[in-house]
Symmetry: C2
Subunit: 660 residues, 2 copies
């Protein structure tokens, strides 16, 4: 392919990485220097990509799970000729607005598959990508979908617990096109990994159903041979590549000193001399650059052949494939939900919102059966997000569209990120709301990178009853609402559930939490022409006469607000009820819209079986709040609502206190 | 020991568990029925405990990691004669105020070692208990500290990622007195575990440095033999006990149906007949009860011998041991911090609060060198929580008082729970604030059960700079403040740091987060007689004249508020600055105190490099907020503060806009 010594190609990565970190006086040179040989072999011999078309659907995916080694990725993008990644960008490493931030940001820089940095996320996201590939290949055929997912992972990625969830899933699902290259350099920030770890990773991965072996990660021939073997395996593969962190730096290589800071002028010079690289910063010899550019266009032919194959697919199937990877919803979805809402008006559904969510899902899954990809972390029968028509996905049934993720909330949410990023699916995953705590790092990255995933989070308050405080969310609504770009919906009845599902599925630039009840609720809405949930809140019940008070509530507490409103009306106190399915969406409305919804009644009361955080923005500092001020307790739900004073009577009294 | 057939003893557990779940119409009978033989062997032959003295320091610990099987534990407490656990309590299973909540709550029911239910927590907490045992034994000798930690874990515990972090630590530390009995029943909520899992747990644990074997978990002789072997091992041991979930239930045993709901009258009757148990609810044959009571007092002699041994320890050492396990701080602590603060007034320390925390730690560690137990998730040099005098803990250096937890934030925080619960130490653990997301389930349980642990969370805002949005917390202060009983301190200078450390260490009924900066800050305080941080907030700078505005700020933004105050004073606008090291503690003050601190100036501005959630309670809906409205970005810190408009100029303008 090229006559250039591949070690010189690897050294180009090393040189650029050293220079960029040195210029920024900040960053991580050690990984790019140690893993340069691995990257060179992968990108010049194996990775199927076309640098001119970084989003080509059938490309191989490369995930730099060890995101701190971002200069490896930026160097590769520049060397292989990514149009945006100029030398100037490398010189702007870690500066405001550059395409080269401290950690790779896929929403910011083209050619990057996912956002990494928080350890363990990349490898777990990659499992979702490989899962999506397997599913989509089974549906559209290997002529259209046939690619590998490669991961470069560090010690830290494998120490993080989420990696166990991820590798257990990948092994169980036999995701043989997932290949993890483990940069086994034996060094972490605190020093040799031996001060904190003695896990035999090869044995560990084998115990999870993987193929695994150890090689010399500085030996390009060994790397070639190992990847070749991995591609033939019927299991996912771990290749533990023994490398030297900061390879080439004469004094600091192999030590923690080269992990997370610039080498310093002297060591940098010595390293370059040692490696035989020009001392000129950011310089790459012409022949080396040419060889890299050739590697970058190596996949162009494969892409063109793929373009031809998809042309042969038939226009309907092709349009379907292209729509799916664009995350565009089918027209049938809106129709199905409209009909579903109409049906609810005719036959009200007075059930738990997890159950009305199930009913909405039946309508949705009928409209988009192959792309609506649900799953649960072992609470399928409680989360109610499995459509009757959906069959379980397994290694042998790749067309199944319900995923049993096991008791792995974090792994599930990370995998959903990968499924979304891969394209082709609208993933949703379910557990109890309280267990969002287990998945927060993956949920935060979804919000940061704008992944359109849906979290079906049932048992959303003390209303779950007897399981007690370990299972009762009280702070979780607040904690989730606080995440930028996270949408949290807590619908109050079956109509709102359908509306929130519609908003969630049409939100392809960020994640959505649906907080749903365990306990039954009445259907409160009597019209369904519009979707008022899109504004976060709306007046559900108007006051009879000039309103003296407004009761704001979400989810299961809207029923309480409506009951209180009725009692107040009977006492001659006209009161409004505002349903607030999404508090943060209400607060994000334009000033006039928000003010109109909130209104100006002298008394404002908020009712939510959760902590007060956030509600002051609606009801004011002096507003009355009826909710939780502590953890919950174990008892039947009705006893708990009474015990914690979240009742219509409490709401009535709060208003009376203020009105009189 | 007893002539009663041990299978009848196990059946007593089964009968009580079935009856209690049946009466509550809620709960999990499957695990207690399947694991009854394991529990019988452990409690009658091995577990060193005295039911009359459930808090005896040298008792063996038993952790029911599979907390949903709580009736196993409650049955055992009743059968062994725990004074509080009457038959009536079993009949009140899962009812408000009973000692028998849905999941075990150690803060509520005596004889329970830790709160479990969220899967993976128990096994990980147990690692901390075993670690504390090893450390304390090395310090006080095996005559005083010599006990085992036993765990009963389920499939779910081992699927959760945190279990990997925990077992990797336990294997590395060679915690050979930790014995995990895995209730390998092959069933989870969704059905056979084989639908979601194919990990070979024995191989997995071996890869982490454990001894591990499989046995028949319904064979009491096999269980006895395996625990006997485990006690002799020089490694922690996993005993995978193959059991039948719902053992004894003729139709439902071995299926998911018996996991999480009552058997139903017919199946219950059939199960009792099958097992040869009386059909009378909650009945235990006299001889069986007597045998169980004997098991409960079996350890009384051992305890008395231990009491004698501690009597021989010497009064000073004995007092020290008893003070330590009571979580009482030494008098030297207050003195040391007082002297430290005096020193700061004489020689101001204008450094990052992570560095002034390091200075405070030097003073603290000198006062309590053996009980101040710090550690970091591989960011020791960045978190600055290692005292110079502290040496690293390892299997060979058990007197080391700094723990390299590895890149395992969740495992670290769960282990700290266990360390605290075990007694003898004031544990603190460190990472970047953003990575509290990884540890939230363990932090929440710490808050729920009132564990006095300290989280040293550095790099607490966009002020960390170049690492970018994946590493920059913006919502984390809000998300942590929302957790009931969690204390979050964000000190603004070296004096506040010392004060917050003092409050944190003296808080032994709940956890404390210390949010600390990466970037340098000036020492702002000029007096240190009292500790105003105890009220959450206080006036740091008084207005010159009648105040027209108040600037509220925390941590690194107090410096900005002080600069703005000066500029406003120059423009003739008298302004106060209120430092708010703990927003939620301010809000928890008595009404009058809170009102006095907040004051009544017409203009209120809050400055915090984080999201607004929570601040409306101080500044009102119409207050000005200068902070973050999105994720951060990668750039030097100064550029970011300017880019996101968190500057003294912005604060001045916000006030001017309102004043004019």
């Amino acid at each position: 392919m090229t006559q250039v010594d591949p070690t010189r190609m690897a050294n180009a990565i090393r040189g650029l990485s050293m220079d960029a970190v040195e210029k920024a006086k900040s960053g991580h040179p050690g990984l790019p220097m140690g893993a340069a040989d691995i990257a060179t072999v992968l990108f010049t011999q194996f990775l199927k990509f076309d640098t001119q078309a970084p989003a080509w659907p059938d490309r191989d995916r490369f995930v730099l799970s060890a995101g701190h080694g971002s200069m490896l990725l930026y160097s590769l993008l520049f060397l292989t000729g990514n149009p945006d990644m100029t030398l100037d960008q490398l010189k702007q490493f870690r500066q405001l607005g550059s395409l080269t931030p401290g950690h790779p940001e896929n929403f910011h820089t083209k050619g990057i598959e996912t956002t990494t940095g928080p350890l363990g996320q990349g490898i777990s996201t990659a499992v979702g990508m490989a899962l999506a590939e397997k599913m989509l290949a089974a549906e559209f055929g290997k002529k259209i979908v046939d690619h590998h997912t490669y991961v470069l992972a560090s010690d830290g990625d494998l120490m993080e617990g989420v990696s166990q969830e991820a590798i257990a899933m990948a092994g169980h699902w036999k995701l043989n096109k997932l290949i993890v290259l483990y940069d086994d350099n034996g060094i972490s920030i605190d020093g040799p990994t031996s001060i904190a770890d003695s896990v035999d990773q090869v044995k560990r991965f084998k115990s999870a159903g993987w193929a695994a072996e150890k090689i010399d990660g500085q030996d390009q021939a060994a790397i070639t041979a190992a990847i070749t073997r991995a591609k033939k395996s019927n299991k996912p593969t771990l290749i533990a590549c023994r490398t030297t962190i900061g390879y080439g730096a004469p004094h600091k290589a192999g030590t923690a000193k080269v992990h997370g800071e610039a080498l310093g002028a002297d060591e940098l010079k010595a390293a370059k001399e040692n490696l035989g690289i020009s001392l000129e910063p950011f310089s790459v010899p012409d022949d080396v650059l040419q060889a890299w550019r050739a590697a970058g266009s190596r996949g162009a032919a494969a892409r063109q052949e793929w373009e031809a194959r998809i042309g042969e697919l038939g226009s309907r199937k092709r349009a379907e494939f292209e729509r799916r990877v664009r995350h565009e919803r089918p027209a049938s979805l809106a129709k199905a939900l409209k009909a579903h809402k109409k049906g609810l008006l005719e036959n009200p559904l007075n059930v738990a919102t997890r159950k009305s969510s199930e009913a909405a899902i039946e309508a949705i899954a009928a409209a988009m059966p192959m792309e609506f990809l649900a799953g649960s972390a072992d609470l399928t029968g409680s989360n109610n997000n499995k459509a009757k028509s959906a069959t379980a996905f397994s290694a042998k049934t790749p067309k199944g569209r319900f995923v049993h993720y096991g008791i792995r909330e974090h792994g599930m949410c990370a995998a959903m990120n990968g499924i979304f990023l891969h394209g082709g699916f609208a993933p949703n995953g379910a557990t109890f709301l309280v267990f969002t705590d287990y998945a927060r790092p993956a949920m935060r990255i979804a919000a940061l990178m704008g992944a359109g995933v849906v979290y079906v989070m049932t048992h959303d308050s003390i209303g779950l009853g007897e399981d007690g405080p370990t299972h009762q969310p009280v702070e979780h609504l607040a904690a989730l609402r606080a995440i930028p770009n996270m949408r949290v919906f807590r619908p109050c009845d079956s109509i709102e559930v359908a509306e929130c599902w519609e908003l969630a599925l049409n939100r392809v630039d960020g994640p959505t939490v649906l907080a749903l009840t365990r306990q039954n609720l009445p259907q409160l809405r009597s019209s369904a022409n519009e979707n008022p949930c899109q504004h976060g809140a709306y007046e559900l019940v108007a006051a009879q006469g000039e309103a003296k008070a407004t009761l704001f509530a979400s989810g299961s507490e809207v029923e309480i607000a409506v009951a209180a409103q009725k009692q107040l009306a009977e006492r001659g106190i006209p009161t409004r009820v505002v349903s607030v399915p999404s508090l943060e969406l209400l607060l994000a409305q334009p000033e006039a819209k928000r003010a109109a919804i909130i209104g100006k009644t002298p008394v404002k009361v908020a009712i939510e079986a959760a902590v007060r955080w956030g509600w002051d923005a609606v009801i004011g500092q002096d507003g009355e709040f009826i909710g939780m001020h502590s953890f919950g307790a174990s008892a039947p739900a009705k006893d708990l609502y009474k015990h914690f004073g979240i009742t219509a009577e409490a709401a009535v009294n709060a208003v009376l206190k203020r009105v009189s």
